[in-house]
Structures are given as structure tokens and as C-alpha cells.
């Protein structure tokens, strides 16, 4: 039996019941499209997180105060009550970290003083600032910031506490308006304190999780004076390693210096060092889990579609029992009946697969769950192969059932 002939007979079969074929194809289409879209959403989320962390700088360590209670003093003695939130990270600690002998892999450091619930006002406009940072100018280079307009503040401003601010794009737009460059030189109020805008940061772009452009950066001493009350304590120290490859060495050096200065060991540290690479790894693991879950849900819908194909093929075989009998009587072998029905289920599945891939691409063009889905080329191939496999696997049983019919039984069937 020639394959072209089987294809022609199968096409006649598919066309004989157009509505039914369309609905069955739709089942596969939805399954394939959801696999492609959901895996694209997973990939999109994962890439968005990676990009965002990349923008923060992959060679950055964050040293922050350990404020949780229940730490242990040296020697294992239990400490009663919560650990003091005292002055355990200072500018002196930060200065020690730039020692080229003790910390050869540290490139730069910047202090971070933060305050919560800072609201900026300019004329009638107000804006709740998401990220409020008091620091030195080295912060900008460590965080991969660039200027859209104006200038940063100087090291002198940082230590003397000049009332200047560098603001992010979102803040500038909300307070001053669409032309962000016009914000430079304007005086804005931050919780009632006047600051002159010295510069506007270039847009980093939202990743959907949070907005890196919703930021106000001022000299650390101004933040300590006007927001946290004068205190030598820092919220965190941002440390830049010389490269992404020496992150672990830099982290060890930072921990050695601070352990010595704070007289603690790894068991009872009053600070913690977070490594962006580790955050990235955690985030990647999380999104991988998410992707697997999404893929599993989509896979189930594909399986349901496959069962739909099998169901329809079984109905088709029963309906066409007489036709099978006639074909066998006029000389169709078992193989030609199998190939006719197998090709019929393959046609339904593959049309569903190809249309599903198209629908997947179209569906992935629109943002979903706050991220832009990114179609993975391998999911397209996988979907195509899976739809072919569905046609074969779910078609083989009905096709065999058809081929096994005895011609006299099939001819007698009403």
C-alpha cells in the first residue's frame, strides 16, 4: 500500500466529519499552545529576574546588620532578649574593608543608610518613594547607575550632608512631569525637608517585580541627620568585588575583617553577607520550579487533548466498521487499514500541533503575569514532536482495532 494512497484515504476520513475533526484538533491546539505559552512565561520570568539582578551588579556583596533575635554569644552561651540593633556596622567597618592588603579582591564600597515611608513632594505633586538610600557617590558605579541629566553629588557632599538628591526616573516623572531633565535644579521636599535635585538617573526599566527607577539617593550624612537621627550605624554596606569570578574570595575577606572587628565567629555573626550570585541562583531555582509546574499543567492539557484524539478515532473506527469491511473484502491488508487510520490521527494531531505552535507564538506576544513571555525554540520542536507522538500513540490502538476486524463481521455490521 502506497503511503500517498493512505494519506488520501485518511484525508477523506478527516474531511468526512469536519466539525468533529476541528474540535479534536482544537484539543491538541490548546494543549500545544499552553505548553509553549506557559513555558515562555516561565522563561520570561526567569530572564526578567536575571536581568534585574544583573542590573544590580553580579559582582556585588551586601553586608547588612543581623537584626534577628536568638543569636548566640561566643562560647555557646544563650543571650537573653533580642540582640541589640546597636551600632554594629559603621563607617569604620566600611573603611576597613577597602584595605588592599587584607581585602585584595574588594574594588569599592558604599554605605547604605535607609529610611522607610519617605514621601517626596514638589508643588502639588506627591510620590511615595520605594527605595530611599543615603550613601556616597561610589554607590552609583557599584549599582551600574548612569545619569540621564544633571550630576551626582560629590564625596564632600556625602560627608558634609549637603541637601542634594539624585532621583530615579519614576520619581522625576511623578513629581516634576514628563520632561525629566527639567527636574534638575528644582527643590523637592522629602518628608518635609528640602533637597535640591542634582541629577536624574537613566531608566533601568521595570522587571515587573519592583521598579528600580523608583529611587531617591542622597548623601549618607544627610540621611543620618534628617531621617534616621544621627547615629554612626549603617543599614548595610555595599561591597563591589573586583570581578564576578572572585566573589567568594571577596566574601571570605569581608567576613574575616568583620569577624575580627566585631569579635565574632561564623557561629554568632551579628551581620550577614549576601552574595548577588547566590540570590541569582536562588531566584533561578525558584523560577525553574515555577516553569516545571506551569509545564506540568500544560502537559496535562496536552494529555487530555491526546485522549480526545483517541476517543474520536475509536468513534470513527466504530462508525466506519462497514467501510473497513468493504475495504478488506476488496483487498485491503491489515497494514493498509492500520496506516489509513494512523495517518488520520496523525493528520489531526499535527494540524493541531502546527496551529498550536502558531497560537503559542501569538499568545506569547502579549505580557502575561507582569512579564513578557519568551518562546523557547526547543519548546516549539518539543511540541511538534509531542503532537506527532500523540497522533501515533493515541492512534495506534484505534487503528489496530480497525485492522483486526474480520471482514465478515465488519460487513455484517449495521
Amino acid at each position: 500500500m502506497m503511503i500517498a494512497e493512505s494519506v488520501r484515504f485518511a484525508l477523506t476520513g478527516v474531511m468526512a466529519n469536519k466539525m468533529r475533526s476541528i474540535l479534536t484538533t482544537l484539543g491538541i491546539l490548546i494543549g500545544i499552545a499552553s505548553v509553549i505559552i506557559l513555558l515562555a512565561v516561565g522563561a520570561g520570568t526567569s530572564n526578567a529576574i536575571k536581568t534585574q539582578i544583573g542590573k544590580l551588579g553580579t559582582n556585588v556583596l551586601t553586608v547588612s546588620r543581623q537584626t534577628t533575635a536568638g543569636g548566640r554569644a561566643a562560647g555557646g552561651q544563650a543571650v537573653t532578649g533580642p540582640r541589640s540593633r546597636g551600632t554594629n556596622l559603621t563607617l569604620q567597618d566600611m573603611a576597613a574593608l577597602t584595605d588592599p592588603v587584607m581585602a585584595p579582591d574588594v574594588a569599592a564600597t558604599a554605605p547604605v543608610v535607609t529610611a522607610q515611608n519617605v514621601t517626596g513632594t514638589y508643588q502639588d505633586a506627591t510620590h511615595a518613594v520605594a527605595t530611599f538610600v543615603g550613601t556616597t557617590p561610589s554607590y552609583f558605579s557599584i549599582s551600574n547607575d548612569t545619569l540621564a541629566a544633571g550630576s551626582y553629588f560629590s564625596d564632600g557632599d556625602a560627608s558634609s550632608g549637603t541637601a542634594v538628591a539624585v532621583i530615579g526616573n519614576t520619581v522625576a516623572q511623578d513629581l516634576v512631569g514628563s520632561s525629566v531633565t527639567s527636574a534638575v535644579g528644582q527643590t523637592i521636599a522629602l518628608n518635609g525637608q528640602n533637597f535640591v535635585v542634582s541629577g536624574v538617573l537613566a531608566q533601568k526599566g521595570s522587571s515587573g517585580l519592583n521598579d528600580p527607577d523608583d529611587i531617591v539617593v542622597i548623601p549618607y550624612s544627610a540621611a543620618q541627620d534628617k531621617f534616621t537621627g544621627y547615629s554612626p550605624s549603617l543599614a548595610s554596606i555595599t561591597v563591589q568585588a573586583k570581578s564576578a569570578d572572585v566573589m567568594n574570595q571577596a566574601q571570605n575577606e569581608v567576613q574575616m575583617i568583620l569577624d575580627a572587628r566585631h569579635n565574632v565567629t561564623s557561629a554568632n555573626r551579628d551581620y550577614q553577607v549576601r552574595n548577588q550570585a547566590q540570590i541569582l541562583t536562588t531566584a533561578t531555582t525558584t523560577t525553574a520550579t515555577l516553569t516545571v509546574l506551569l509545564g506540568a499543567v500544560a502537559g496535562i492539557s496536552l494529555l487530555v487533548g491526546g485522549i480526545g484524539v483517541m476517543n474520536i478515532m475509536l468513534v470513527t473506527v466504530t462508525e466506519r466498521t462497514r467501510e473497513i469491511g468493504i475495504r478488506k473484502a476488496i483487498g485491503a491488508s491489515r497494514g493498509s487499514i492500520v496506516s489509513q487510520f494512523l495517518i488520520e490521527s496523525l493528520i489531526i494531531s499535527l494540524i493541531g500541533g502546527v496551529l498550536g505552535i502558531a497560537a503559542g507564538y501569538i499568545g506569547s506576544a502579549f505580557p502575561l503575569l507582569g512579564t513578557q513571555p519568551e518562546v523557547q525554540w526547543w519548546t516549539v520542536w518539543l511540541s511538534f514532536l509531542v503532537s506527532a507522538a500523540i497522533g501515533l500513540v493515541f492512534g495506534i490502538y484505534p487503528a489496530n482495532k480497525a485492522a483486526k476486524l474480520r471482514p465478515i463481521d465488519a460487513l455484517r455490521y449495521e
Binding site: 500500500m1 478488506k328 483487498g331 491488508s333 460487513l411
Partner: protein
């Protein structure tokens, strides 16, 4: 030389076992010569349908041997039996059994497709045979667009397209009105006049009377084997109705 197209020796077909045993055919022996036109008649349950299934290689015998065109069909596997049905036998059924939604020309050429004949040749031969049964202008019609008599003529064309050694007809006029029945029987006579071997199963004696030889079945036995005319002694048939 043995010129028998069909040679049955002590063929039995037994259904069930023990007490429930039914002998649909009981040790039947018969020989049908090339070019003969044989009618097999009998009441329902006489075994004539079982006979038709065995002659048509649609079912195997329980006992005995059946030679079709000199081939012992008992030794063949399923695939070879399919080929035998395809090349040696042309079937004509009571209810036509055309493939629905498929044009007449495609129905007729279908056995050739299973015989792996090239597409172009298939179409040519199918059109030729359709013309010979007087349906040249209906080639592109689907079964639902044809009358009963026309459908049966398409079925006959399909049976003839592989040029089989045997035309096996099962109640070919059973679903037709008198006029169409006569046309189909006229067609059979003309095919027979051209040397075609025909075996026709029927329960109507007037239909059987058109054959050369009438074999009557009862309870799985041949109870009468009666020759009406000699082979090839039949006068030239009436023209094929257009």
C-alpha cells in the same frame, strides 16, 4: 488439465462446540468451471451465506480444502488472503457497499490502489470499466447521488476493475426494484457471455433461472445441482443498458 475456478473438497464450517455445535456447511464438495454462471440458492440458514464467505475467502473452512484458481486457500496467511480477494475475486453485495462520500470513479479504482497500481492508470481503467457498465457520465458522482441500480452497477464495475477470475455476487438484486433487477441480471448475462465466471447467491428462483447452473442448499448440504444450459451455449446477451 483441471479448469475449475472453484474446487471444494469435503468442506465443513462448524460453529460452536459439543452440544451447541452447528454445522453451517457439512462436508460440501463442488467444482465450478471457468466461464460458468452458477446460482446458489437456498432458504436463510441453508448455508448459502457461509458458502459465499468461504468462496470469497472472507472466512476459512473448519474442515476440508478449498482451491481457488488452483491455489489451496487453507495454506494462506491473512495478508495473502487479502491479496487473493484483491486480485482473484470481485465482490458484488446486496446493499452495494460503496464507500460513502467517495466518487464513483474513486470507489471503482480502490481495489487497484490496494493492488499498488499507479494512480493515472488506475483512473483510466476505472473510467473504462465504468463506461462498460454504462456509467461513464456518472464517474464524479458520489453514491448518495446515484440510484440503487446505478450504485449496484458502480459496485459491479469495482468488482471487475481488477479483472478477477471470479465474480461473486451476494443477492445482487435483493435491494433493487424489478426494472433495476433486470438491468443488473442483463449485465451479468452479458459479462458471462464474454467469458466471465460468475457465482451468484440468491433466494429467488426467477433470479437463479438466469444462470446456467443452479445449486440448491439446505441445512448445510447440496440437495440439488441442476444444469439449465451448457457453458457458452447461452445466446448472446442483450446489450448493456446505458
Amino acid at each position: 488439465m483441471n479448469d475449475a475456478v472453484i474446487q471444494l473438497d469435503s468442506v465443513s464450517k462448524i460453529y460452536g462446540k459439543g452440544e451447541a455445535e452447528v454445522r453451517a456447511l457439512d462436508s460440501v464438495s463442488i467444482s465450478i468451471d471457468r466461464g460458468d454462471f452458477v446460482a446458489i440458492i437456498g432458504a436463510s440458514g441453508s448455508g448459502k451465506s457461509t458458502m459465499m464467505n468461504i468462496i470469497g475467502c472472507l472466512d476459512g473452512a473448519t474442515q476440508g480444502t478449498y482451491h481457488l484458481d488452483g491455489i489451496d486457500t487453507g495454506t494462506l496467511d491473512e495478508f495473502q488472503l487479502a491479496q487473493i480477494r484483491n486480485r482473484k475475486i470481485g465482490f458484488v453485495f446486496q446493499n452495494f457497499n460503496l464507500i460513502p462520500r467517495t466518487r464513483a470513479v474513486d470507489n471503482v479504482s480502490m481495489p487497484l490502489a490496494y493492488a499498488k497500481v499507479h494512480r493515472k492508470e488506475r483512473r483510466e481503467r476505472a473510467l473504462e470499466v465504468l463506461a462498460s457498465v454504462g456509467l461513464a457520465e456518472r464517474a464524479d458522482h458520489k453514491p448518495s447521488q446515484l440510484s440503487g441500480g446505478q450504485q449496484q452497477r458502480v459496485a459491479i464495475a469495482r468488482a471487475l476493475v481488477t479483472n478477477p477470475v471470479l465474480l461473486l455476487a451476494d443477492e445482487p438484486t435483493g435491494a433493487l426494484d424489478t426494472k433495476s433487477s433486470h438491468e443488473i441480471l442483463d449485465l451479468f448475462e452479458s459479462l458471462h457471455a464474454n467469458g466471465r465466471t460468475i457465482v451468484m447467491i440468491t433466494h429467488e428462483t426467477d433470479v437463479a433461472a438466469r444462470a446456467n447452473r443452479v445449486v440448491r442448499f439446505q441445512d448445510g448440504h447440496i440437495i440439488e445441482d441442476h444444469r439449465l444450459r451448457d457453458v457458452h451455449a447461452h445466446p448472446v446477451a442483450t446489450a448493456v443498458p446505458a
